[in-house]
Symmetry: D2
Subunit: 179 residues, 4 copies
């Protein structure tokens, strides 16, 4: 044990390893739709991340990221919420591990709702109330809070990456807030 | 006991009693959205009932009815499915009593999704796969099978009674079939 | 109409009216199981109310109460949480109206899990994280916080009113915390 | 491209590739608990598979297997149901992709409910009503139908592989059938 080079974070993969894995297996993701609630739990706003994609187009997305080997779903969710919303967002993580929806992303469009050109990913999707202030880090430019009506609009739907507008609508429907 | 007039069905209320109850309490309903599934469980069609309302307008609705005193939610669901779809529909009743959505109908419009001028009703809503042939009875004129896209359209939404188009969309979202 | 005594709170029923209603209809309830969560949303404790029943026996129960006419499910939940846990409990009301379970209480034991000698009640059951300090009011003597293991034990099960121990187990199972 | 040996089923991995993948990523599984329902949807029996493990001990398990790259969750569920229950089981696949529970299996026991010495696996768990006759294939010896009470017993719990007895209890709780 003593002479072994320590592996501080075996869940992290090199770019090559990740590309290799993506050719072999579906990749497990967690995704979170940040929401603001009023005092009796009704959704008042939905938070969407704005960012520039590889084609220099502005696109919208939600909190999203991979579950690493050895990491629990909750820990992955917490890590990606902090990464995308900053340390002062104070997200209320779900008490139950049951997602409100499962989204399947395939590399080739084939009639399904969701697509991801890089990989076959399966995502456990949660609605996460946020009570603090959000300060997106990394590649996101900003977090925009929209009314439920605006978040469900055709315009926003068309701006969302990989079909995630359907996921926002499904979240609103689950909350009893999709007309 | 012997001379007491038997009450074969104490759950039934006279029109006066029901009107009286509606002034005092929220009324518990069950509602079911009939669906056709393919071999791996994906929704292919949604069944909507067509009927003439009190204003002689054609409207669309779903399977809906009251839970009687002493009756279980399952028994009520079964009774209303048979009443609205006929005896040969072979509905697959849900294994779990957990509804996919709870709909609250208020007599006065107040910002909520659902309304019912007669009463305050709270409805447990289920998605019910149907494998047989449907033969609507009572006041429904016919059952129309629509594609998920058609069932979620603005046109159909505008034809549904009491805001139930939102319920159809919520059902499709839960099934992973609302774009 | 002009001379009618105004009814400031038509949802409240007199004792006679409530008894009358209970003979005619299932009564809609909301119930809440208070929980404490850790930073990533895992349940650490379950809150059970201790009280003396009509037979002067100590029994345990959860937050429970009727939905009044004209009142939303959320408002009813909030009202009963405040009544049973006090004004400083800071409950996090559920973002979705979908309950984790529906409990059906019948006056006569008949093989079901739940019973209530007074009435046929149907209850929408929610898990409610609580972050503040609880100060039970009304007839409850105290709120006891138990570990998930203790809350699921046979002893606690036997002390719960109307079969609600099964509801506590179902809540823990939904949270991924029932062994 | 022309001289490339075709890969008829790229989702299948060699033993080496699978071992390699298990060292890098959480592996996505689907699991199904087969149930028999009565006419109104209440669970009457739970199906558990009996098999000999690597230590020649009799153990019980449920339908379980990996999702392959490019395969949908529904297709994986169907494939494993057919593999474990035979071609005449006529399973009713869930209409919604939302699982009733998510089970996380870790190689080292660490306080979680589920373990798998081979890997870190995350499993989407479904309750699947079965109407036909089951004829387990492959390594399972037989499928045993147990009453809900028997399936939730301590004895059966102790015989289940990897902690899956907790999953059976969670399924029964979701069905309103765990006392």
């Amino acid at each position: 044990m003593a002479v072994r080079t320590p592996d501080p974070n075996p869940g992290w993969l090199s770019d090559d390893e990740l590309r290799d894995a993506r050719e072999r297996l579906p990749i497990l993701y967690v995704e979170a739709i940040p929401v603001r609630l009023d005092g009796i739990g009704q959704v008042t706003e939905v938070g969407l991340l704005l960012r520039m994609n590889a084609q220099s187009e502005m696109t919208r997305t939600i909190v999203s990221g991979r579950v690493m080997r050895g990491e629990s779903v909750r820990d992955a969710l917490y890590r990606h919420l902090e990464k995308d919303l900053g340390p002062m967002a104070f997200p209320q993580l779900p008490a139950s591990p049951v997602p409100f929806q499962v989204a399947e992303y395939f590399p080739l469009p084939g009639g399904g709702l969701y697509s991801d050109s890089r990989q076959h990913a399966v995502s456990l999707c949660y609605i996460v109330p946020v009570t603090g202030s959000c300060d997106p880090r990394q590649d996101a430019l900003e977090l925009t809070w929209l009314s439920p009506e605006a978040a469900a609009s055709e315009l926003v739907l068309s701006e969302m990456e990989g079909g995630r507008g359907s996921l926002v609508r499904a979240a609103l429907a689950h909350l009893g807030a999709l007309r």
